[in-house]
Amino acid sequence: MTARRESLLLFGALTGLTGLVTLLSLGIGTVFLAPHEIVALFWADDDKLMGVALREIRLPRTLAALLVGGTLGLTGAALQGYTRNPLADSGLLGVNGGAALGAVLVLYTGAFAAIPFALPLGGLAGALVATALIVALSGRANIQTLILAGVAVSSLAAALTSLVLNFAPNPYAALEIVHWLLGSVANRSWDDVGLVLPFMAAGAVLLLLSGPGLRALTLGEDTAASLGFSMRKLRWLIIAGAALAVGPATALAGAIGFVGLVVPHLLRPLVGHDPARLLPASALGGAVLLTAADIVIRLLPADRDLKLGVITALIGAPFFLFLILKVRKEWT
């Protein structure tokens, strides 16, 4: 009974927060919009500048932050549940490294100027290649092999990304690549969001379906199998789900770290350490955190555009250190 009330309270609070950051993110900019103005402008059928700005600039940006944050939170929770390691995150399988490499190659070749959607498409292609590599490398072996394969693919993607940077034709191209890699949801169009949305949605569904299996996996692989779960099916749900979710997210917003690490960790005690309920909670929490970070960026009085990935890393890295200290204390 109390567990149910706790659960309602938590999900109610997270949904409320999501609504709040959405309204704030839509309202904040050179002109501040109150919620009722947002609603009015949203349905206004005219070409007034503010309406266009809201519908074509702020709304896709907000949606991108919500979607990318939610995806990273969800994937982080799923991978932590699967590896039963609180330090795992959405970058573990190297899928986002692959996606980043794909997008960087598009920037390098200048294909984005010639082909519409080349950037997200390049990211998707990179994510798919990385996933295929991970599956080929790890075969049907255990979770440890999968993690090793992920580390190998990550390193390879990072090395190749450096190589591309190294060969950048001119400093501007290099700067553009670096800026993209820092991660941002600014200036995303409806087309950008619409292109990656189906993939992210499919990935999110697969990851959410892994919940019951992850709950059983709390007791280890053998016991989970004896409780009626196919470990092979669970593995496929996780790999395919993570690839479909994180690849497009990276393609849309660049490399944004630490959300997938921090969010599940903060929420885990609030769901009674249940890996299944942690999944939807982390999706909402990730959406809230990344959108809030994007609001902070816009409020900071900086004459230069501060990148979202920089902020999340600035918050995330100290948290990571804190986590290590906490884990160390728990195990000694």
Binding site: R4, R84, G211, P212, R215, A216, L217, T218, L219, G220, D222, T223, A225, S226, L227, G228, S230, R268, G272, H273, D274, P275, E330
Partner: protein
């Protein structure tokens, strides 16, 4: 009710691990309502047998029958509901409370997203009471002593109200008091209708508490029968299986076999 002789039976079972033959044409069976001990030296294939029975390892050849039907053709969910498996080193990876941990044993009875209902809560509290962890219900599972944790994980296995419990050395790592407590508890479960297959190293416990034993040596059946010096646990068998000589302690109707000297 089982029509045939056995609740679970293996016939000419061969199992390979990393292309090594670990079980070689094993034939054995547990009757309903038995405490059945699987004993033998390290590497004799005890754990492999239990894992194969639990459906975790594929058989290379031979048959596994559960209630007279091939286990392979029985629905996974049915097996999960009726057979509980407790591995040699059971773990709980997240600091769940003991009650939540034990509730995980209800998973095969619940839909994937269903919350535990009244019947589930009753089974959980009965399982916790049976192994005496009720007072630990709200403690995080990672803050328990070794014995408490083992009992909590046993409660998890019992919470699914299994017809058959497969337990791999549940008494290892426990002090004598808790070893006896565990064996009495399993005995008690058997009296209330659960059948138990138990991998054991402790010959004294095997001879005192088991109804029948299976003695394995290098993946083959050396003996199956009563755990007495006249039957499966005769000195000759034990010398062959373990390379030790034994003495027998008799107390009234009960007797215990104790390893004495290396041969």
């Amino acid at each position: 009710m089982t029509d045939g002789k056995f609740l679970m039976e293996v016939r000419r079972l061969c199992v390979h691990r990393a292309s090594r033959r670990v079980l070689d044409s094993v034939g054995a069976g547990i009757k309903e309502g038995e405490l059945y001990g699987v004993i033998g030296a390290n590497g004799s294939g005890k754990s492999t047998l239990l894992q194969t029975l639990a459906g975790l390892l594929p058989a290379t050849s031979g048959q596994i029958l559960y209630r007279n039907a091939p286990a392979k053709r029985t629905a996974r969910r049915t097996l999960a509901r009726e057979i509980a498996y407790l591995p040699q080193n059971p773990v709980c990876h997240w600091p769940l409370t003991v009650e939540r941990l034990v509730t995980l044993g209800r998973i095969p009875h619940l839909g994937p997203w269903a919350r535990p209902g009244n019947a589930d809560r009753r089974a959980v509290s009965e399982a916790m009471a049976a192994v005496d962890v009720t007072c630990l219900a709200d403690r995080p599972a990672n803050r328990l002593s070794g014995g408490e944790q083992r009992r909590a994980l046993l409660a998890r296995a019992l919470a699914g109200e299994p017809r058959l419990l497969l337990a791999d050395e549940p008494s290892s790592g426990l002090d004598p008091y808790h070893q006896l407590q565990l064996m009495e508890l399993l005995r008690d479960r058997v009296e209330s209708g659960v059948s138990v297959i138990l991998v054991l190293h402790n010959l004294a416990l095997a001879s005192r508490f088991c109804d029948r034993v299976l003695l394995l040596k290098e993946g083959k059946v050396l003996a199956e029968g009563d755990p007495t010096v006249e039957d499966a646990l005769n000195p000759e068998n034990l010398a062959t299986a373990y390379g030790v000589s034994t003495r027998t302690l008799v107390d009234g109707h009960q007797m215990a076999v104790i390893p004495w000297d290396r041969i």
